[in-house]
């Protein structure tokens, strides 16, 4: 199954949804009025606590890391994580293999990070603030020089480097995830690595991100 393709009315809409999943029908919901703008004007899908726990166990850290790389903010990353896991719990998709599922999760996470800026989004979250302080572990300053250098990269470089050297995706796969051309990804990786070499110094940076 694939994400909704958007209006079948233009190349822009089609290209904006790289398809990473298999072939079960997808559903798009459209709300038309202020009062029906709630996310779940469609039917809710119930799930058990065990299912939620299993999902948290499998995906929470993965999503957290992607979101942290994208947002640079642990609290935002946690919120994105909650949203993505809710989507997973209510998602009807089935996947032919774990790789496709992983790609779908990453794609949804990336989209959620983009959505983070939308004001309506924040209003509809269930807050994790009460547990925010103790919710995640983060390296102390100076403890993780490579991670700190990556997080200091410009956004596109940072995202490409993360997907290449943490998730170990190929250039074409990264292009599909980010909705851009492979050549752009190659450029971001090249320039990002150059900056990392400068930041990390000599062979240190070279070895950290060699292919």
């Amino acid at each position: 199954m694939r994400p909704p393709t958007g209006p079948a009315t233009g190349a822009v809409a089609e290209k904006s949804f790289p398809i990473l999943t298999d072939r079960i029908p997808l559903i798009r919901f459209i709300s038309r009025t202020a009062r029906s703008k709630g996310d779940d004007t469609t039917k809710p899908i119930t799930y058990t606590r065990q299912e939620a726990e299993a999902l948290v166990e499998r995906w929470a850290d993965t999503v957290l890391r992607v979101a942290y790389t994208w947002t640079g903010n642990p609290q935002d990353a946690q919120d994105v994580c909650q949203t993505v896991l809710l989507k997973l719990l209510t998602c009807p998709e089935r996947f032919p293999d774990p790789e496709r599922r992983r790609a779908w999760v990453l794609r949804v996470t990336i989209n959620c990070c983009k959505d983070l800026k939308k004001s309506a989004w924040a209003r509809k979250r269930v807050s994790l603030e009460a547990a925010a302080d103790a919710a995640v572990t983060m390296p102390e300053a100076g403890e993780s020089p490579v991670l700190e250098a990556v997080l200091a990269l410009p956004e596109k470089y940072r995202q490409a480097v993360y997907l290449r050297y943490y998730e170990e995706y190929g250039v074409d796969e990264i292009a599909a995830l980010l909705g851009c051309r492979p050549a752009q990804v190659s450029t971001w990786l090249y320039r990002g690595k150059a900056k990392l070499r400068t930041m990390l110094g000599g062979s240190y940076g070279q070895e950290c991100f060699s292919d």
């Binding site: 779940d40 899908i45 166990e57 809710l86 490579v146």
Partner: protein
């Protein structure tokens, strides 16, 4: 230091056990939360018998009525709606009457304007977006909105609906409901299809559902529908070249005044790329009509999607369907 240094350091970013627990709790609290897509309706047998019914509603003024939903409709558009309209009987449960004011549909879509009249003395206020909004389902399996066939099997659909302006001080609400048939089931083939509404809830911004009206209201939308003429133009040989995936071939196209469905395939599948082309109906005056939104499914080298027009379209004035660089004549 090897290249895994980055992975090793990144792996330190993780949820604590307490964080996982908090996240699980939040997920359980938010279990009706974000679902821009729905998984369709849960498999569920029709449990309630048809409620007592009272014949009500009229298709005579259907076109005008639907301006509350579509906005201004010209005479032709109103005629289209009235042609597709059928009467549906009202249903009553626990003192609340739900009356179809108007209903029409085609193979893929069904529109139902429903008046909900609670017992006298009840007030159904307008909560506004910040305080909560009405939903026609609750948050448990038993409180689901379903469509089932005569054998009690679910017809896979999704829905969206719009609450129309009503007096916030009285006991009446009106909803415009639109059903989408997801698996190709013809919603207007004349066969029984029971739409079951379990009640009315108010959903707070933090996704807490509070029941307002509960019971069971059933509407046989299938039996009261008639066949709708659709156009299925010959698409043999219709192709469009795609920069990434070679030749795209249109395999199926169907239009009705309410929407369009298309299926196409491509010759050179590439992982992660699902090509398509702009799709529109070209009218006599040269204008183009696009779909408002679509729902789709797809595989490695094929895609099928369908969607409604923003307002009904007079296909009598349509001359072609444009798909990328290809044009399929309708006359």
């Amino acid at each position: 230091m090897d290249k895994n240094a980055f992975q090793t350091e990144m792996n330190r970013v993780a949820f604590t056990p307490a964080g996982r627990e908090a996240l699980t709790e939040a997920l359980m609290k938010g279990k009706a939360a974000p679902a821009r897509r729905s998984g369709g309706w849960a498999r569920r047998s029709l449990a309630a018998a048809l409620a007592a019914v009272v014949l009500a509603g009229s298709a005579l003024a259907a076109g005008t009525l639907w301006e509350r939903y579509f906005g201004r409709l010209d005479e032709t558009q109103q005629e289209i709606i009235e042609t597709l309209s059928r009467e549906l009987p009202a249903a009553e449960s626990n003192g609340t009457t739900m009356t179809p004011l108007a209903a029409f549909g085609d193979q893929d879509f069904y529109y139902l304007m429903l008046e909900i009249r609670a017992p006298e003395g009840t007030v159904l206020p307008d909560y506004g977006e910040d305080e909560g909004y009405y939903q026609l389902f609750g948050d448990t399996l038993e409180e689901r909105f379903t469509l089932t066939d005569s054998a009690g099997q679910d017809v896979l659909c999704t829905l969206d609906y719009t609450w129309l302006n009503d007096d916030p001080t009285d006991n009446v609400l009106t909803a415009a409901i639109r059903l989408w048939s997801l698996e190709g089931t013809d919603l207007c083939d004349g066969a029984d299809k029971i739409l079951h509404i379990p009640g009315l809830w108010v959903q707070s911004p933090d996704k807490i559902y509070t029941p307002v009206l509960t019971g069971g209201w059933d509407f046989n939308i299938g039996a009261h529908s008639g066949g709708v003429e659709s156009l299925t133009p010959d698409v043999a040989g219709v192709t469009v070249e795609d920069a990434d995936c070679g030749t795209m071939t249109m395999e199926y196209l169907r239009l009705s005044p309410l929407g369009m469905r298309i299926r196409h395939s491509w010759s050179e599948p590439k992982e992660g790329i699902y090509p398509g082309a702009a799709l529109s109906v070209v009218m006599e005056d040269g204008s183009e009509v696009f779909l408002k939104d679509t729902v789709g499914s797809g595989g490695e080298n094929w895609n099928e999607e369908f969607g409604p027009f923003e307002v009904p379209v007079d296909l009598g004035k349509a001359v072609a369907v444009r798909w990328g660089t290809a044009e399929i004549p309708l006359r």
